[in-house]
Symmetry: D5
Subunit: 95 residues, 10 copies
């Protein structure tokens, strides 16, 4: 699994709408609306680099209301949980 976090600044009146739109996108497992320096953080969990590239450089760029986005691609994930199993079962149709 290839993981990344996308830190998003969104037009003030579109934050909730963008959050819901992203959460429906294959490849995005969860979207947090957060306090602090950013508005939203999307967690991406996809099969390979091409899926990641397609999601970030294509689908995400068509979402209206995103003012700025900065993607933090994960080198490694450290967890007690078997995230791959947890998310792959529920996400066969994922990118």
């Amino acid at each position: 699994m290839v993981n990344a976090l996308v830190m998003l600044t969104v037009a003030r009146d579109k934050v909730n709408a963008v959050a819901e739109q992203l959460a429906e996108m294959p490849g995005i497992s969860e979207v947090y609306s957060v306090a602090g320096r950013y508005d939203l953080v999307a967690i991406i969990r996809v099969r390979d680099n091409d899926s990641l590239a397609e999601l970030v450089t294509n689908r995400l760029r068509q979402v209206e209301g995103i003012l700025n986005s900065e993607t933090l691609i994960a080198f490694r994930v450290h967890s007690r949980h078997d995230l791959e199993a947890m998310f792959t079962i529920g996400t066969e149709e994922e990118g």
Copy 2:
């Protein structure tokens, strides 16, 4: 469930050690070592605000090697997955 993301800048020679130490902490479900402006991002999933406060303002501050941390507390989580179920089953002993 109360969620937060902690954006961490870590001493260059301690990044992997800190990642592993955090991933073992009750309340931290996963730690990403990332490319970009931060070194690590820890995802916190805990039962209530007190658990969050105790984890961030106490346990996290005792971890050696963290140079700077900025916590983004989630107002809401948007997801197709039942994250609460996925993470609570595997995390009864969580903070």
Copy 3:
């Protein structure tokens, strides 16, 4: 009680109007118009996380004239005063 501070940058000609509008909002106990890097700081005192989320991600985003806002959610409050009592008495109808 859940507390937070919202640091606000406001359109130059709307600072006083926004301050008064926010000060009337249930859940906002006081609004300071300040010198320095920000224009306004709103102190939020509400019953629980949902009230905080509803106030910040919904009602605040409908206020015209706010150019940028950054919410600092409080982990803990340290005070000689019984803030909960002081503000809950006067704020039964609060969010």
Copy 4:
């Protein structure tokens, strides 16, 4: 009443100790340990400018562990509450 907010960055291992030390200081009504870009925010409520100057440029500067502080002095306070009464009753010995 003269009001100000002091945004504080504190040495990681001293945040809680500094918060408690500040909360005991006459003139400081509450101290929030916050998530986000700062570590602590102290709310100052004092009688006049001299008390404010003495607190910020003298007493605060003797507190160990504060790395950086930025004071936002309030021009005006907007509130449904009678803050002057609420805090003056409980704070006769205040600066």
Copy 5:
């Protein structure tokens, strides 16, 4: 006397006009057009906090061409000169 410095960024074609307009305002003793990070710096010398608040949060905000302003309120003034006398004589009608 209450003193403050206002650091101003001004639309390129309005710097001189804004400087002259501010210099005529009661409460503003001098306006420097400066080289460096800011365009103008206004020195405020007024009788009390209310005059300062009225000048900065009201009159200054009606001046066209000011893109950004940051007010540095003085806690104390250190000088060999008797500034209060020097500026009060010439400034009876001051705010």
Copy 6:
């Protein structure tokens, strides 16, 4: 008269001492200890560019405790007051 403002960041425990030391320096008419992004602002009023250069690039650099300084040299001064007269009378011995 050549004017400049020096924006100073000072070691926390030396702010008052540095302010007093600068206020005694020929060429510095007043020093403000301020709230906000800087600690002190010194107003320089000297006869010519050489006096300014000598004060800023020589005498100021020998003052202990100054962490960072940024000089804003004034192109022009706009004022209802005859600042040259006000400050020259009291400042014959100035740099």
Copy 7:
């Protein structure tokens, strides 16, 4: 060979189009669409300073959609590969 890297911020809906347009430009050997603080990074390999100046200060500035660009000119290149040979063979017609 004269080398430089151009760090580009591009309008969200034009990133892929700009990448392809730049990759076709004589003198640009490769264009990376990247995660992180920038959108694209173009690697320039040209014969001499004039070709570099012509490419950056003329041709690049006519590409629509580039919001900001910062050129890092290389003093030296360190590599195990004979980059000059590798890129000159395929790039006779280069600028």
Copy 8:
């Protein structure tokens, strides 16, 4: 091939030494010492994500003299050249 650019700030007296050390590392095809905001930029060309992770989160962090590094992982590469062929031939032993 997985590509990334590492933007490096290096101790002033170690820039050349670090450049040469990095250029010898399998997986790093070239290192530019640049003018501008960074000191060095390393171009990484490796077979897969694990090689990238191992190079950046392990080998690079053992190089003395690197003060700060920020990795820009490439989603896609746009080029008229067959970079994969050009660099794979000469780089069988690569990471």
Copy 9:
């Protein structure tokens, strides 16, 4: 001679035109179009402060296409060359 450097950010499509326009201005001896954080750097060499003020706060502000400018006034110039002679001979008509 009074010297200053003006660091300029210019609209992308006007950089060359602005450079040529400035280079023709009495008082500006040379204009560099540069790689890096700025677009242009103009070197000012004029007879006195008034000429500098007139050039920067008046003539320069009428040049179309300049988005931002920051003037660095020189306290002193250190050089093996007799810059005053070199530039005054060719610049009798200078401001």
Copy 10:
């Protein structure tokens, strides 16, 4: 002629010494000690890229007291003066 400007931040007590040392270096035609965001700006005029690389990445890095330097290499120079002639006559021994 290859031109560049080096923006320098220098240890407070070494600014004058560094300025004089740089001004004696072949290839550096003048050094300005400036007001504002930087301490010194060195103007480099050398014959070719190698001389520039040798000066910036080697000789400059051995000068004690320089905390940070950022080189702006010139793509083009626009001037009414024949700078090449003016500086080459007096600079035969230049790098």
